[in-house]
């Protein structure tokens, strides 16, 4: 063996010293911190409103709701406000934000592109079309609350299938070139949007009203039954995504690399997309299309904790939930002064839209795409 010569310090492609990677935080720590933050945010948000309820009273009311305290521990008004009105809305915001963020994490990973998001790719619009069809065909009256997510899931799958198909046809083998992805997402959104307009035109006044109410609704008037439909679906999709998260990491090395590491690329990609579509559909069916949560949250988290998908999905659950909760809180506070309430989707779009454009400009300069 020759003796080793001293080597120069490693440098990046441009000759500057390579930047250091963000610290890797254990999944358990992320879950603990995220859970605590989400819980604290939920208690504070529940207390805020026209009538302010102190955090302690909110906690007591939650304990009453869980049957751990007698109902005499809290005043009847506070109990009604917390358990009947605000907490379901807060819980819905947490579940919806979590579902959208996890879904966005998977879409960005599968398409190897940080610009992917259920809204950008038309998955949310597809789910919206499905939900509308559930309303106007009367399926939602026959099948009840479950018809909406079921139909929305079919619509979301159609959108995912279309984008995968376009990506394959364009020679991307199911991976997403930025231009192909965004253009096919735009096309899918436009087609589903046109079909929505057509269906609305052909349906009667009552159905139109309920559809408009649904799209504009955001998180207003969401009740426990909405939470109970979305929560299990988002939970199942999330568990599956967490189990396969490591496979998704490996898929980023490329299909052949994944195969040589024992990961089946096509089945991994398709099953993860189905899980992402499921989570998106459950959320969209309950609160209408809300964009950009799935884009911003995973993207910022990737900068903070690195790109490995299991920590990213765990952190995304809580960060997505808290993000949507805060957006909805802004809506509620604004409603108190203006009188009329806007959708939380308006806030997420006002924040997410410019952020998306910023990312697009950066990736055009060849920097952002590889974050």
């Amino acid at each position: 063996m020759r003796e080793r010569r001293p080597r120069p310090a490693p440098a990046g492609p441009s000759g500057r010293p390579a930047p250091t990677a963000p610290r890797r935080v254990p999944v358990a720590v992320l879950a603990a911190v995220g859970g605590a933050a989400a819980f604290a945010a939920a208690v504070l948000a529940t207390g805020l409103g026209t009538v302010t309820v102190a955090p302690l009273e909110v906690l007591k009311a939650i304990l009453v709701g869980l049957g751990l305290l007698p109902s005499s521990a809290v005043s009847a008004t506070d109990l009604a406000i917390v358990l009947g009105i605000r907490l379901p809305r807060v819980a819905m915001a947490l579940v919806a934000g979590a579902g959208l963020a996890v879904s966005g994490t998977v879409l960005q990973g599968v398409f190897r592109n940080p610009l992917a998001d259920p809204g950008v790719l038309g998955v949310a619009t597809g789910a919206g079309l499905g939900a509308l069809l559930a309303m106007i065909t009367g399926a939602s009256r026959v099948l009840g609350m479950l018809a909406l997510p079921a139909f929305a899931f079919v619509g979301a799958l159609l959108a995912v299938g279309a984008i995968l198909g376009v990506s394959f046809a364009a020679g991307g083998q199911g991976r997403g070139e930025t231009v192909t992805l965004i253009l096919s997402g735009m096309a899918a959104s436009a087609i589903f949007g046109a079909l929505i307009s057509l269906a609305v035109t052909l349906s009667n006044q009552y159905q139109v009203t309920s559809y408009v109410f649904w799209t504009m609704g955001g998180l207003a008037n969401r009740r426990w039954e909405h939470v109970l439909v979305a929560l299990p679906v988002v939970a199942i999709a999330t568990v599956y995504i967490l189990v396969r998260a490591r496979d998704l990491d490996i898929l980023l090395l490329g299909d052949e690399q994944a195969r040589s590491l024992g990961v089946h690329p096509v089945s991994t990609r398709v099953s993860l997309l189905v899980a992402a579509a499921l989570a998106t559909a459950a959320v969209v069916a309950m609160i209408g299309p809300i964009g950009f949560v799935g884009l911003i949250v995973p993207h910022i988290l990737r900068l903070l904790i690195g790109p490995a998908h299991r920590p990213l999905a765990v952190a995304g659950l809580f960060a997505g939930g808290v993000f949507l909760l805060v957006c909805d809180l802004a809506v509620r506070v604004a409603a108190r002064t203006s009188g009329g309430e806007i959708s939380a989707g308006v806030v997420t779009a006002l924040i997410g839209g410019p952020y998306f454009l910023f990312l697009l400009v950066r990736s055009g300069k060849g920097r952002g795409a590889f974050l």
Binding site: G12, R24, L252, G254, R259, L261, G262, G306, F370
Partner: protein, 288 residues
Amino acid sequence: MSDDRRGPGLEAVPFHRPEPEDASGRPAAPALLDARGVGFSVGRGADVLRILHDARLTARGHEFVGVLGPNGSGKTTFLKRIAGLLPGEGEIRLDGRDARSLSVRERSRLVAFLHQDTQVPFSFTGREVVSMGRHPFANGLSAAEGEADRKAVQRAIQDAGCDEFADKPVTALSAGERQRVMLARVLAQDTPILLLDEPTANLDVLHAEETFELLRRLASRGRCVVAVLHDLRAAAKHCTRVSLMHRGTIVADGDPEDVLHEGHVAFVYGVAARTFRNPAGEWDYYLP
């Protein structure tokens, strides 16, 4: 197989096969890798293009086989066929088992494959990429890696000489550094068979030499190492055996200095090379 594809002069190339015994003269272990009649085509009907046909390669533990040949002779395709990354005809046995009967996961514990270039779209650190090499041994949900995995990853990082930048994002590394990270990823996979596609393509002269010595060491400890190479000198110096590819098939196979004689080099590469012993006593060549 049409005869015109082979061209004239093939008869002049002796097909040498080494005796199946290791350096100390004992009978060698059964072949870890046995590929026969391997083919691959693209297109269909009249436009079919045969990239690989009737290629064969047998390799045992303790062997470091260099696969040489001009651009487009099918070296990478052959390696990918052996690794099961491409479909096609041929009988391939890995560690005595029919490759078609192996699951993707079983195969990943037998064969590791190093690609020419790997682009990673997100900023994983080198260590994270190397630890992906342990995936074939992961069982289901266990998020945390075991002590054995961490040790294997650390050893691979040291062997491939990437300790200095193992904790930097791979997106910020140079092509050569990234290639060493990928080599470490392959080493972490800890397989009996290593298939490497131009493992030294982006490396400077020092790191190329270190990589060759590492591969030779791995072979001497019992691995079966097969590498696509372009550097004839390095192949002659380090490989225990060389296979020469031409127009999609193996045309010569054996001891480096037998295979890399002037006639073969002229026939396969189309250059009138002269071979000689350089001052270090090694096989060498020049182009007059």
